[in-house]
């Protein structure tokens, strides 16, 4: 694709002067060279010294962003060290997300850290093979990771060990089509539109209603034959505007 544009294009001057002397559009050699680029962030060196076998490799992306690949089995230990060591003090977990590169390649879980006092950023990545999508939760270190990890679980199917409340967060809890952000998941979903509409309407808005389900991993599955025309039910929580109350 890249070369197509260069050779087939008409404008004569294609020499892109990238910022900071970095070749902006050359993906292939960048990867090979990356190991030789010295890290910008001193935390990377400290991390390598502290965990010589936990840190697999590191590279510099997009000019000045440090990325550290670590052993997925030791994620909680390494991130806790980064959070609690006074010299590092990565107290702000900006983001937890995942990347599926498709083609059966492992899913990357990405932690984006920021240290408010040190003003430094670090990106930590772990690779998880598709048949063992399990990693330790970091909610014990940053409570802000709670919903972020739930979202990764919902959209990628990565299980976080030790998470206090690992349920789907965006999709319905009885969603049967899979994990949408995987590359093998089709854009329009797996079921036909009619099937999706029917399934959506057989859900009852009052389901998933009790805080008691917290801590349970098993979602309540709606009985498919639920009688939604029931008048008693129909005066339920759908509108919510009238402050529906239900005594436990």
């Amino acid at each position: 694709m890249t070369s197509d544009l260069g050779s087939g294009g008409s404008a004569p001057d294609f020499g892109l002067v990238a910022a900071g002397g970095r070749k902006g559009h050359d993906p292939a050699p960048d990867t090979a060279e990356a190991g030789n680029v010295p890290p910008v962030n001193p935390s990377v060196t400290a991390l390598r010294r502290q965990f010589p076998d936990g840190v697999l490799r590191n590279r510099v992306c997009a000019g000045d962003q440090d990325v550290v690949h670590i052993d997925s089995g030791r994620v909680a230990e390494i991130l806790r060290w980064l959070h609690e060591t006074p010299d590092q003090h990565y107290d702000h977990l900006a983001d937890v997300t995942a990347v599926d590169h498709g083609g059966g390649r492992p899913i990357e879980v990405v932690y984006q850290l920021w240290s408010i006092p040190q003003r430094s950023a670090l990106r930590v990545k772990c690779e998880l093979p598709l048949d063992a999508l399990e990693i330790e939760s970091v909610t014990g270190i940053w409570q802000g990771a709670n919903w972020l990890e739930r979202e990764v679980y919902d959209l990628f199917g990565v299980h976080f060990r030790g998470h206090p409340d690992l349920r789907r967060i965006l999709m319905p809890e009885n969603y049967a089509e899979g994990h949408p952000l995987r590359k093998d998941f089709p854009l329009r979903g797996r079921f036909s539109r009619a099937e999706q509409t029917r399934r959506a309407l057989t859900q009852d808005p009052e389901d998933y209603y009790m805080p008691g389900e917290i801590g349970e991993r098993t979602p309540q599955v709606v009985a498919s034959g639920a009688d939604d025309g029931d008048e008693a039910k129909a005066s339920g929580a759908g509108a919510g505007g009238e402050g529906e109350a239900d005594v436990l």
Partner: protein
């Protein structure tokens, strides 16, 4: 039927007096044991369709009397799968999606996205473009805060500030429309520049808006800041300490109200924010009232930045002059075969990005807005991830509202300044 007098030991209304009307039915005997109160809690469902949840948020609240025991937020009622859709669109096509995510501050999202992609591709935009984007972002910060102010005042029980705020918002709508042709869904940025140069007279309109806004803010200030009802409903409500706020990942005004001076514009300056003269307001109690004060002050600081940016807006090209990124002019396309092919290839094939990833965050109106883009050498992203500030801010609501009253929960929710389009994405 003869009536016999039955002596009931009943509680009487003390105002009734000994010769008051006889009590028709006994309520409860004196010597009965007190019923055990507090043993039962009540579940109240708020939303997903409720005027006070600012969208389709659903909160399942467990109440002990009127005191909140726990809150379970339910999300996903507006999940529009932006991130999945982004993987099927070229880099420039995604701009259209970004403003539908946070429709309260669309230009900030437009800018944040292209800034991340430009960083990934190693593109340095022109000086004029930088300043124009700063103007756009600060204008939309005010735009978003004004909507927050309007809905916040409705939640506190005042309708007038809502109308005042919307009058000012209409002016920003007009400016949006002059700049992009749309009132909300602006889609105004492109990789390497803007959709078009600033229209004639637009900066004059922005300056007029920036001149007039402080008067409106003063007016609303007078209505709310020292208002006894407002103070009583917000001071000491939903307080969170600095350490906990950081640990919960709060950002933006919610974090700064707790006293942590973390502002991406100051800590990781982009677009020469370091050279603008503005201050970051900090609260000290971390409660709803401080969040209100911080946002009010942020609007005034944004006005300052707007004036400085308008003063320094340089002449010159808006887009980078790189044929691999920028489209040729329409006139050239119509008259010149080469340009037309060039235009066609750029549109149909898109701009390739290196096989790298890039994280870029800006200070959005709701907090730290991060964009994480992963390229693989092709014209479409492998992954486009938004770090949604209000999603993370909202995750602290169970912590913030514990032990407060049900009515305070509405204020706490309003003080977080959420937008559901971005929480659910």
């Amino acid at each position: 039927m003869s009536s016999s007098t039955v002596e009931y030991a009943v509680r009487r209304n003390p105002e009734m007096g000994p010769h008051g009307k006889p009590v028709a039915s006994p309520t409860e005997p004196f010597d009965a044991p007190e019923p055990e109160l507090g043993s039962q809690t009540m579940l109240v469902n708020v939303g997903p369709q409720h005027p006070a949840t600012h969208g389709v948020l659903r909160l399942v609240v467990e109440l002990d009397g009127e005191t909140v025991v726990s809150v379970v937020p339910r999300l996903g009622y507006l999940h529009s799968s932006f991130e999945k859709l982004g993987e099927y669109r070229t880099w420039n096509q995604i701009v259209t999606l970004t403003d539908r995510m946070d429709y309260l501050a669309p230009l900030i999202y437009n800018c944040a996205y292209v800034m991340a992609v430009e960083k990934l591709m190693g593109i340095e935009v022109t000086e004029r473009c930088k300043v124009a984007r700063v103007i756009c972002m600060e204008m939309d910060r005010i735009f978003s805060h004004l909507l927050w102010l309007g809905t916040w005042s409705i939640d506190v029980g005042a309708f007038t500030p809502f109308l005042y705020a919307f009058q000012q918002r209409e002016k920003v709508y007009t400016l949006h429309e002059a700049l992009t042709g749309a009132r909300i869904t602006t889609s105004s940025t492109r990789i390497g520049g803007m959709m078009a140069d600033l229209p004639e007279g637009w900066t004059k309109g922005v300056r007029e808006f920036a001149d007039n806004l402080p008067a409106t803010l003063d007016e609303i200030d007078g209505l709310l800041t020292c208002n006894a009802i407002h103070v009583g409903r917000t001071q000491g409500i939903g307080a969170i300490s600095a350490e906990e706020a950081v640990n919960h990942g709060l950002t933006g005004a919610n974090l700064r109200a707790s006293g942590v001076p973390y502002d991406v514009r100051k800590d990781r300056p982009y677009y020469d924010y370091g050279s603008y003269d503005f201050e970051v307001p900090i609260g000290c109690h971390g409660d709803c009232y401080d969040r209100y004060l911080v946002r009010m002050e942020e609007m005034r600081q944004s006005v300052r930045i707007l004036h400085q940016a308008l003063d320094r807006l340089p002449d010159g090209p808006m887009d980078v002059e790189d044929p691999r990124i920028s489209l040729p002019s329409k006139t050239d396309c119509m008259s010149d075969m080469e340009s037309m092919i060039h235009h066609f290839k750029l549109i149909t094939e898109g701009i390739p990005a290196p096989a790298e990833d890039c994280w870029f965050s800006v200070e959005g109106s709701k907090g730290e807005l991060g964009m994480y883009v992963v390229g693989d050498g092709g014209p479409k992203p492998v992954r486009w991830r938004i770090r949604p500030p209000s999603f993370v801010n909202l995750s602290a609501i169970p912590k913030l509202s514990e032990g407060h009253l049900m009515a305070d929960l509405i204020m706490i929710n309003a003080s977080l300044d959420i937008v559901l389009g971005e929480i659910d994405r």
